[in-house]
Symmetry: C2
């Protein structure tokens, strides 16, 4: 068995635009979350359940990133929040300039919370700062508990880790404690939520935490 | 709701090296499969079950591609087949030159079947020809049946689609017929296998098909 390694570079220009975005979000007193995961981990479903709980009490908007289709934006639009779909046409991640262009469609000062749902990809989006306040990585119990070890950059940059699909725990080989330990080994400051976006189990803590991010004056 | 689109370019040089690989594999009378999927769809587990059935009767080798760790190569090595781990250190896909370097460690003329397990990513690896004979995309029933629509490039380039984790069908919202129809809409020539690498259900057809790819003289 032999191990080969390769180095990668990260785009520089992206960071400058991300800094502009961050400045703009701060001016607007807006909390911005970047949702990151593999395809099918449940980002959109989590977002739908979240909007059901929050959209009637806070001013929420969504940027949807997808390789193709506006299916996700249509799912989100049903919850009566402003949504912009970014279709990357094969592109594997969102970049700060795409987010800048997308949020130009919102009145940022009139928002409390902005969710950016990144392209389903546990690798590339880790390298691209979008100007968000917090990165949330979502893993699901069907993906195996070794994912933090195998995709460490994503867990290194994340602030929060949602472990989704806990309703499937009886049917899969997934050790939550192992997954948490692996992830904390990479990033000791990670905060965890364990939930099922499908059944709603564990959603309350997540919602309460999101509410705590919204400046009190607007609540 | 607004839709923005972006164009992407594909590396040219990669195709030249892929052509060299393809030529070399042909000389060696070797069948090469490129296994592609999201993180956690079950590529490595499928490979392990496959090696259990084939490794005592055919000369099989494996190239493992991972962002980090040699965990997968260690799982494969237990099955007593030659394996080379390529660690991309954050890189989101294998490229033809990495495969060329990796297979230099094998005696290609003495092999019947080579599996290349790509990095877990349903986007980027679709753009990189490695010189393989066949691309196999693996999706799992926990990812949602809309994946072909949302990641069409991968399904366009694939020859075969394995639908894995059929043991979880009773517990998830996944319509196999829908997934097949979506995928066939993108690529009418796709061949499907439905199986559970975990329970072994449906594995026979997959194994029989793999055997049919091996030139008879070596069987």
């Amino acid at each position: 068995m032999k191990v080969l390694t390769v180095e990668r570079k990260i785009l520089k220009k992206n960071d400058d635009i991300a800094a502009e975005n961050r400045q703009r979000f701060k001016q607007a007193n807006l909390t911005v979350l970047n949702l990151l995961s593999s395809p099918g981990a449940g980002k959109t479903t989590l977002l739908e359940r979240t909007l059901e709980k929050l959209a009637n009490r806070y001013r929420v908007a969504v940027v949807e990133g997808d390789v193709q289709t506006d299916n996700d934006a249509r799912r989100i639009a049903k919850h009566h929040v402003p949504v912009v779909q970014v279709v990357t046409r094969g592109g594997c991640h969102l970049e700060a300039n795409l987010v800048q262009e997308a949020v130009a469609n919102f009145e940022l000062d009139a928002l409390d919370l902005l969710f950016i749902e990144n392209v389903g990809n546990l690798v590339c989006p880790a390298n691209y700062d979008l100007g968000e306040n917090l990165k949330v990585v979502i893993i699901s119990t069907t993906e195996g508990d070794d994912k933090p070890l195998k995709y460490p950059p994503m867990f290194r940059v994340a602030h929060v880790c949602v472990i989704n699909k806990i309703d499937l725990l009886p049917y899969v080989d997934f050790d939550i404690q192992k997954a948490r330990d692996y992830a904390r080994g990479i990033n000791p400051d990670l905060r965890f939520f364990e939930l099922s976006a499908r059944t709603g189990e564990g959603l309350e803590d997540w919602i309460r935490w999101l509410e705590s991010l919204i400046p009190k004056s607007t609540a």
